[in-house]
């Protein structure tokens, strides 16, 4: 072994270098205090442990909603990437498409007034539907109705159930009343069937658990009514 310096070297000022270090820099990982595990980034990394192939399969499961295959797709690995970015895409489509739909119908295109409130309302409505409502339902199901599904699995399911609206809302830009209702009804049917089919095992247990279908259906209906009457409302010019 080649010695690059012996242990008792003196430097130019006469100090022994190894025994009296002046500046010491140590690389040691500090142990992290775990006061709030749900607040750390590492806790949420387990929900982003998916690949693009998995996301594609899950969205496909949700679009083919009559097949109860979602749990086989998800396995033990519910993710939060899908719910987050599907709902953000829907917010963008509502903001851009809602105004575009009104613009196409407007006769006086020069004085078209763009409604920026669409963004704030869209953020409220879509994030409530994608996160707040499934968290409440999941907590009720897990702790009161004793289901074996966790809260994050319900959030994941709700998030992917909204994926059909990404396509439906783009089609709703067409400014015809009947067309918009048709597309929204298709979206409602697909989304609700997806949720009910995948929760069927839980719902058929007893009468109480079957009642969970009521809030699911009513929130979905409320969502499309909000889409139709706020974002894609068609105000025709009044003939004098």
């Amino acid at each position: 072994m080649q010695n690059f310096g012996s242990n008792n070297d003196l430097d130019e000022k006469g100090h022994v270098m190894t025994d009296q270090p002046k500046i010491k820099v140590k690389f040691e990982p500090k142990p992290k205090p775990s006061t709030c595990p749900i607040c750390t980034v590492e806790y949420y990394q387990q929900f982003f442990d998916i690949e693009q192939r998995d996301v594609y399969m899950r969205i496909r499961c949700s679009l083919l909603s009559w097949k109860p295959e979602f749990y086989q797709c998800v396995g033990k690995n519910p993710d939060l990437w899908g719910p987050l970015w599907i709902s953000t895409t829907i917010i963008f489509i509502l903001f851009a498409g809602g105004n575009l739909s009104r613009f196409l119908l407007e006769e006086d295109k020069r004085h078209f007034k763009y409604e920026y409130n669409y963004m704030y309302v869209a953020v409220l409505v879509v994030y409530a539907m994608a996160f707040i409502i499934p968290i409440i339902l999941g907590v009720i199901m897990k702790y009161i109705l004793k289901s074996e599904l966790g809260v994050f699995e319900i959030v994941c399911m709700y998030g992917y159930s909204l994926s059909v609206y990404m396509f439906v809302l783009i089609l709703c830009i067409i400014p015809y009343n009947e067309a918009q209702w048709f597309f929204l009804m298709c979206g409602l049917a697909n989304s609700t069937i997806f949720l009910l089919v995948n929760l069927w095992d839980f719902m058929k247990k007893n009468k109480q658990t079957t009642l969970i279908a009521v809030p699911i259906i009513s929130f979905n209906v409320a969502l499309i009514l909000c889409f139709k009457f706020y974002f894609f409302r068609l105000i025709y010019a009044v003939d004098d």
Binding site: M1, F4, G5, N7, D9, D11, E12, H15, M17, T18, P21, K22, I23, K24, V25, K26, F27, V41, Y44, Q45, F47, F48, D49, I50, E51, Q52, R53, V55, W81, L84, W85, T88, T89, F92, F95, A96, N99, Y114, Y116, M119
Partner: protein
């Protein structure tokens, strides 16, 4: 691992010893290796930055912003670029964010100037934060502020697009300009971010970047 260094003010150098962890070799003898290193620092800045004039300070910061802007926007993927971007700063993103928010809120087509300013400002910072957090959660080896810095610098083409749309009112020209600026921003940001994410998760990390610049470009187009 530890290293101990001492300043040697006589010849402006620092000398030190790196203590690697003791290694046990095959005959069970513990050997610890020490290496003496000599680092000469030839360009030590003797005067502090408090003593220089304001103009010199501002020009230096502006020059650094300009250098980083060129690295980010002429995406050549060289190692110099990568090294330059590691010295992140948030002045550049702040300047471009303010410029974009001001330009869009002052444009004549809308009557909600302060609202637009606030929306764009919040959108840029919260958007960069969320996109970076998303990349980190997907397991990317991305330093938080470095990524926010690059996303902020890549807003510059959309800034240019917004400035042009102030002057040209012809809609199809505006549309082409904004689409061009959106593609330029996205290409730069994607070029930086895709190096840091594993292959199977790349689209999952890049889609939010595309959505972020799409939001901003849409604002530049409609306002």
């Amino acid at each position: 691992m530890e290293f101990e260094v001492q300043e040697n003010q006589g010849n402006n150098s620092i000398q030190g010893i790196i203590n690697l962890q003791p290694q046990v070799n095959q005959v069970n003898q513990v050997q610890s290796q020490q290496q003496e290193i000599q680092i000469k620092q030839t360009d030590i800045q003797v005067s502090s930055t408090l003593e220089e004039s304001v103009a010199v300070t501002l020009l230096r910061d502006l020059r650094q912003i300009g250098v980083k802007l060129r690295c980010v926007l002429v995406p050549t993927m060289s190692t110099d670029n990568a090294r330059e971007l590691r010295n992140w700063d948030l002045w550049g993103p702040l300047v471009f964010c303010l410029m974009l928010a001001l330009t869009l809120s002052l444009s004549g087509n809308n009557d909600d100037g302060p609202g637009i300013f606030a929306t764009i400002f919040v959108l840029i910072w919260v958007g960069s934060f969320v996109v970076t957090l998303n990349a980190q959660l997907l397991g990317g080896k991305v330093s938080f502020f470095q990524s926010v810095c690059v996303l902020g610098y890549c807003v510059f083409p959309i800034n240019l697009g917004a400035l042009f749309t102030l002057f040209f009112q012809f809609f199809y020209l505006k549309m082409f300009l904004v689409i061009g600026c959106f593609l330029w921003s996205t290409y730069s940001a994607v070029g930086f971010m895709k190096l840091l994410i594993p292959e199977q998760k790349r689209i999952l990390a890049l889609y939010p970047v595309i959505l972020f610049y799409l939001f901003l470009s849409w604002f530049a187009l409609i306002v």
